[in-house]
Amino acid sequence: MMRVLVVLAVVFATLPGVIVVLASLTAGQSLAFPPQGLSLRWYEVIFADPDFRDALLTSLTLATITSLLAVSLSALAAISIVRYRSRATALIEAMLLSPLAVPHIVIGIGILQLYGYFGLRADLLTLTLGHLIITIPFALRMLITSLAGMDRQIEHAAASLGATPRAILFQVILPQMKMGLLGAAISVFILSFDDVALTVFLVQPGYTTVPIMLFGMAENQVLPSIHAASVILLLASWLGVILIDRLIGFDRFLFRDGPSG
């Protein structure tokens, strides 16, 4: 009985992806399932589209910069929150985590209003700021967990050996957080790369991301090229998951119960 349920759950979770992949490989002129013959022609079509290439470049740049910034800022915040507990750091933690309690769509509307007020246009900066708001809570929570599991006495030992606070940060704390930082960076990359609910309010014609572009394409005419673009999104997410699994191990990434080090 349990087995059947597990099989059903796996099928349910993977079927949409499988259908999209198969449909994207069709040789026919229109969307059809099962596909009419196999070819990569719709991938050629989508990559030939300069708008798509722009959107892909924007998405990749945005996700990379968001990931680097969110993880660096979260790491510093996590260290002060865990190592220097006070009312001030508790307030900072609550503020940084608070976007978790607000739906992305609401955050999006708010930011749209704010940017409109200041007359800001959609560009890498405005998109990155928006993505930082929604990704920092995830990165921060992961890094706080990874730090909380670290033995404080290791830092005391370093200090007793003459390490300055700066040396302790760079030679002791950050190296021990390496896996947590990597995991947070990959998660933030995926979150940023996939986001629609917030991003839809921040883009404008001529400056958009892949998921938003797909959204627009699907409204007009459903062609297999959408599926080809979706597969590219899918592959990017899988790559992240596989990296996390290879580098950290997925169980540890989710539950943080593995041995430290």
């Binding site: 290791i154 005391h156 030992a157 200090a159 007793s160 003459g162 300055t164 021990q176 041995p259 080090g261």
Partner: protein, 375 residues
Amino acid sequence: MSETVAAGGPPEQEAFLQLRDVAKNLGGNPVLAGVSLDVFEGDLLGLLGPSGSGKTTLLNIIGGFTDLDAGSVRIAGQDLTALPPHRRDIGITFQKYALFPHLTVFDNIGFGLRQRKVAAPELRQRVGEMLAVLGLTGLAGRYPRSLSGGEQQRVALARALAVRPRLMLLDEPLANLDAALRQRVRFEIREILRSTGVTSIFVTHDQDEAFALCDRVAVLRGGRIQQIGTPAELIYQPANAFVARFIGSPNVFEASVQHYDAQTQSIRFVRDRFTGAACVRAPLTPGTRVEVFVRPDEVVIARADDVQPAKFRVKDWVHLVSGREAWIEGPITLRARLPSEATHLERGAAVIPSWRPERAHAFAIEPAPPAAATT
């Protein structure tokens, strides 16, 4: 407790480490209630106390990881109170070793030298020396998680000693080792500390460890130092009931004073119809309730003859590594440790216990003093 306790050390010599009235409150509870302590250069001082006695807090204050509320800490005349940990030049080994998990054994030991910008050739040479001294040479490239507990302990010691600190603090260094290894590492640590000549404080809750390793031992309880002395002084001249009870797992029973002899500073006490002798630290008036402490190996038992009415009978025998222990029952129950070649007395045999008066210690029972730490 504001007077300086410095038994054993030459009084005219300026102490290397001086703690004066060190006090610390945590969450409203006094963890240290005015600790004054002198440690002389080259000393190996044991800091012995039950858990919650403030040992670790004291260590953290000396190391600079905890701020003190009152008092001062000086090393070689220099006040450490405002000095951050990384400028104190104090080597520490932690109970759980706290090795750097991301560094090899070599880099763990070299960490302190790197902070001091020691040039690579000298660093290699000095780490090499430490590896050799502690028998770790083959493990230089390994990471801490692949080492046994004993090996990790040695790496922790090597890491702290590599920078030649002016003071070593060892926090329960043997607590995480199994019993067989503990014996060996205990003497290894003693030899290494002796050969380097570094002034050291060794924190433990285990009196055997403290006595085996240290020249002098300070007994800490409830944030106060109860007594400082050589192991022999703690065993044969306990300063108070706590020390007497804590050291050597003695027989303990209540009695009342029958007679005080000022010349020998001893009392005769009575408990039901059993009378005995014990030495005291202060005059006591007849009738005072006392607690008497006498360690099992000081209790001699003899077969009762017809003249003396027997008040005790052998209840049971227990075999120990160090000999046998008899449980005898009378007005009180006593344990008496006998060498294995001593006469065997069958269960139920009528016996009379006795001991040399100076080997038993009596302290007046006072209303419990306000304990410094409630935890």
